[in-house]
Amino acid sequence: VSSVLVCQGPSSEALAGQQGAAPEYTTQQAEAPVARHWPRPIQEAIDAAHAACFDDDPFPSAKKCQKCHEGHFREWSVSPHAYAQLSPVFNAMSNALIKLTNGTNGDFCIRCHTPVGMALNEPINISNLDRPPTTREGVTCTNCHRINQPWGKISARHHLVPGNLQQPIYGPRGNDILEQVLANPDKYGPLKTGGEDPSIRANPIHRESIPFFQMTTPAFCGSCHDVFAPNGFRLEDAFSEFKTSPAARIKHQTCQDCHMGLVPGVASGFAEAPAARVGNVTTPPRKRTNHMFVGPDYSIIHPGLYPHNVRAIREENGPADQGLATMREWLQFDPHSPWGTEEFEANVPKDYPFPPAWADAKRRRLAREILNEQYQLLAEATRARHQILSTGYQLGDIEVERASDRGICFKIKVFNGTDGHGVPTGFDAERLVILRVTVTDSLGKVIHESGDLDPNGDVRSAHSSYVHNGRLPLDKELFSLQTKFITRNIRGSEKDSILTIPYSLDPLPYVRPETRPFTVLGRPIAARKHKQNLEANGGQRWAHYNVSREELTGNGPYVVDVKLIAGMVPSNLINDIQIVGFDYGMSPRQVANNVVAGHLVLHERQTVVNLP
């Protein structure tokens, strides 16, 4: 039975033996959940085959690495890398682009977000609830430490070296500490590097750490963070921006200096700490990089699912002692409920209608304990996110240019606080960085505002559905650093678009290799970006505001308040991609709610204006 069903190939030996051969998943496996309705013996065979697949995983889960590298795992577990594939916004955007390009966008987006999943030939649009751990871990350990060649700007289409946990990994440093560990079984305990008698009880460990120079260079980051589509569209060019920046050219800094160091966003040196704990003994200290890689993204999903927590998630059909609950069960645990708190559990009636998965008070208490850990870690990541974003974006002081009974004019400067790249960078066309401005009279009435949000949580730009439908006025003073996606109209210039689909030109948009040199124009004919970010080379911009005579109430003095706010994506993106649905049973509004909830105020300035 099992031969009919499952994991045909992602065994490390199979992949290692035939470079270039794509492991095949059978249709049944692609639709694996269907098997849950099968008779018990068949189901057991599936489970066994599935388990065997995980045991000989060609790309081990980070959970396996966590056993020795707890610190790295903890940082990574709450990183945007770890969130990359879990993000319902990403998955919906990828699926929407595929739908709108008639399938031709293929794995262009998701190849970066789950390189292992794509290497294993997983279906693109299945729920993350149905993906195995390694693939839903997104940019997981193996996505960097199983790269053995300097690929350059390959938009994440690099080769991943398959192999189980004991196969060599690639790192910046080399083998010296690992050799010490392997040479001292008395100190670190018995270890298995492969080929030993299976009956020997020992901890598995990678047998070698091969030094890989490129991992220390910006080009390694650039292999994913310069994203060029094969039709010539330069979706992201963080690495290209970096290469023209003072940080690269003059200071000779690297991406790692600011994004893996002690202080996020600042070249502040690195920690000196053990990289691993083997057999409960820590390895000698050495340069220890931070793997949290905080950036503008944040989680909007259930805190039981993210950050990755080995105590939290049990695989469906997996061993009961590995993780508290399945992802589906976690989605039935309302994190905002009092379940699992001492106060609640001490008073809960016996017939309280819990979902079956959470009927056991012990499980609920454990869940609450895990959630508290998760919230702590999320808060830590939020602080780090605030640190890096408030370093990158700087806000000057409010300068009142004119204040009289004819009105108030003021301006404020926003400037780039980093010399390593523009801000925002990377996926700058969907990064919401705005100024929220209010002018309030002495009675507390807001007489003038900009950067306020419509009921969907969108700024009042032309992309706001409320503005487009004429329900709210356009925010003509909106200060936004969000780069624009531009698509060509059949005639009448180029349009500011939410997605890069040039549907006006073509009722059947297609992604195919560009048939003209895409270097010449730096873009395809039909779509491009119009950058709006602040460049690394002294980028700054003034925001100007005018309060008209009619808006003044006569109840001065007036308080001007300016907040610099960073959000992950604008709500209009959620509006545009909702056609393909969101994972985890989330509604578009839930997604927008949670995105808005993650907005951070990076800086705030206030001034009082007295009219003569």
């Binding site: 270039g20 051969a21 959940p33 269907v34 309705h37 739908k99 008639n102 399938g103 794509m118 290497a119 649009n125 299945i126 060649q149 300097p150 700007k153 690099h158 080769h159 120079f213 260079t217 910006p218 060029f228 290209s240 050219r249 039935q332 309302d334 905002h336 009636p349 017939d351 523009g422 950067g451 306020d452 949580g457 409320y466 004429g470 356009l474 624009k484 531009i486 109209n489 005639r491 009448g492 180029e494 349009k495 500011d496 549907y503 006006s504 059947l508 195919r512 290799p513 048939t515 270097t519 730096g522 970006k529 460049e535 690394a536 080379n537 509006n575 909702q578 509604s587 839930q590 808005v596």
Partner: protein
């Protein structure tokens, strides 16, 4: 504690309904995603309590919910939906029912099916944007890693053209075939060779003028035309110097990211107004992502073309050499293109300087955003004017907007050609420089069906207004356009006006059905009309 049996029963029913839905959801992703949110959420409990105050005792010791900010809703029902959350002052509140078309949905539809990736005709050693294991690369002596892949793709168009100009010149009734067939040998993310042929149409001299001859059957002439050929239309290599020679900059501190292309390649500059060449034998060098001092992103390209230069009179000029400098810069409000070309040729066809500048931006006007572009182009012969080299200036503007509440597009374009502006290079099939003015001015590059209105930029002014309607999301489109032009100086035939309509529809993943029609009137001539219907296949 006392418990309301009715409340308990409702809750249990809801729970089991949710559980049952979740169990069903195990069967498919869509079913999972369509299942209601797992109950009981805290908000559900509160809502139930509000609905039935008697049941309060059934929910013991409820603490205040976590202060997670969410979006407000001004509807009376909103407090039930999002209990206890303060409405942030910066968020507008609106009536939910009135704003149904604007408001994000509360309904989770779950993960929807998406189209499968249509395979290319040939995909060797790596799918084109397809999932699968990617093989190990080959390291070149320069240090670059490549993974050669071969991809074959293209477009085929087959259709019927009918064109009655009622001028006793030539009417057209023909079945036409055009195939654009490409092979790409892909090496890496930046290096590739592209080879393209058009096996069913080719360029020939007809009465001393270069023309594109399509494989067709001409009903009006009652004969077939054979345009089959094996000519190379496209064959170029492009790459990135820094990527090919990574060892020259191992620490990424030098700016060696120079893109370049060499070979027979298409080139489109200034929306085709300055250069609209399907093939030029040229070498280009490009520097991208330059910025600073308000320039947010600058790309600059130098080009030298030594062969296959077609002049503004449509003819191939074997002696022409092009030297170009093309720049595009993003500024906060506008994208500026500044392009300079020098063309050197024999006195017979003429040499000339060409300069063009354009600004592309969005402007707020009438509570909506207008997409606009303004171009200024000039051609200056170094000696006397020739049929291929005119002296003149072209002013061209275009704008478009979507009406409130509609995805449709309204566009308006206008031009003013002062004297005789000529493009630096353009292929005969694309017609004159003014194809961008409107669909009535554009050559379809498909058989003998020409542009209904003249697209030459010689002492004339005109424009077009069009409306593009999107149906079935965007897969069905209807375009109406009115256009006209008038010579600005006395000329044998001056005014032209036309009306055109186009219907285009995507069918499945590969096909487009296209129906074009027009009527036009030129002074001193009868009304002309035409239609074409064709099927485009993408693969």
């Amino acid at each position: 504690m006392a418990t309301s049996p009715a409340w308990r029963q409702r809750t249990l029913n809801k729970l089991w309904a949710a559980s049952f839905a979740a169990a069903l959801a195990m069967g498919s992703n869509a079913a999972w995603a369509q299942s209601p949110a797992p109950a009981p959420a805290y908000s559900d409990l509160v809502r139930m309590r509000q609905a039935n105050p008697a049941s309060q005792e059934a929910i013991p010791n409820l603490p205040a919910p976590s202060p997670v900010p969410t979006l407000p809703d001004a509807m009376p029902a909103a407090p039930e939906e999002e209990p206890g959350f303060a409405v942030p002052s910066y968020v507008h509140t609106r009536n939910k029912e009135d704003d149904a078309s604007s408001r994000l949905s509360d309904v989770a539809i779950g993960i929807q099916p998406i189209p499968e990736r249509p395979r290319l005709l040939v995909e060797l050693n790596g799918l084109f944007l397809g999932p699968g294991f990617l093989s190990e690369g080959i390291q070149l002596p320069t240090g670059e890693i490549i993974r050669p892949s071969l991809w074959v793709f293209g477009t085929n168009q087959f259709g019927y053209n009918w064109f009655d100009n009622r001028n006793n010149i030539k009417n057209v009734s023909e079945i036409v075939e055009r195939l654009d067939f490409f092979t790409q040998l892909n090496f890496s993310g930046t290096e590739r060779i592209v080879y393209g042929i058009r096996p069913f149409d080719q360029e020939r001299k007809v009465a001393g003028v270069s023309r594109r001859i399509y494989t067709s059957y001409e009903f009006d002439l009652d004969k077939g035309i054979n345009g089959t050929n094996g000519n190379i239309e496209t064959l170029f290599f492009e790459g990135d110097f820094g990527q090919i020679f990574p060892r020259l900059d191992p620490y990424d501190t030098k700016m060696l990211d120079y893109g370049f292309s060499v070979g027979r390649q298409p080139l489109l500059i200034q929306d085709g107004l300055l250069i609209n060449a399907n093939r030029l034998d040229a070498v280009t060098v490009t520097r991208n992502t330059l910025n600073g001092y308000g320039n947010l992103n600058c790309r600059t390209t130098g080009m030298y073309a030594w062969n296959q230069v077609h002049r503004n009179d449509d003819n191939l000029d074997p002696n022409a050499r092009l030297l170009g400098l093309f720049n595009e810069s993003d500024y906060k409000e506008t994208t500026v293109n500044v392009d300079l070309v020098y063309l050197n040729s024999t006195p017979k066809t003429g040499s000339a300087f060409y300069a063009a500048a354009s600004g592309i931006q969005r402007l707020d006007f009438l509570e909506t955003e207008w997409s606009t572009a303004f171009h200024v182009l000039t051609s200056v012969p170094t000696n006397q004017q020739t049929p291929a080299t005119g002296r003149g200036t072209l002013l061209f503007g275009q704008a478009s907007m979507s009406p409130h509440g509609s995805p449709d597009l309204i566009y308006v374009t206008g031009f003013w050609a002062i004297d005789k502006f000529s493009s630096a290079a353009r292929n005969p099939e694309v017609g004159g420089p003014l194809g961008q003015v409107g669909i009535l001015f554009a050559s379809p590059a498909f058989g003998r069906f020409g542009a209904p209105l003249s697209n030459q930029a010689t002492r004339a002014a005109g424009g077009a207004i069009g409306y593009q309607i999107f149906l079935d999301q965007t897969r069905k489109q209807l375009i109406f356009e009115v256009g006209g032009r008038k010579n600005t100086e006395d000329a044998p035939s001056t005014g032209q006006i036309g009306f055109g309509a186009r219907y285009q529809q995507a069918c499945g993943q590969h096909f487009i059905f296209l129906l074009d029609s027009f009527v036009a009137k030129q002074e001193k001539f009868d009304v002309s009309s035409g239609a074409r219907v064709s099927v485009i296949i993408k693969f």
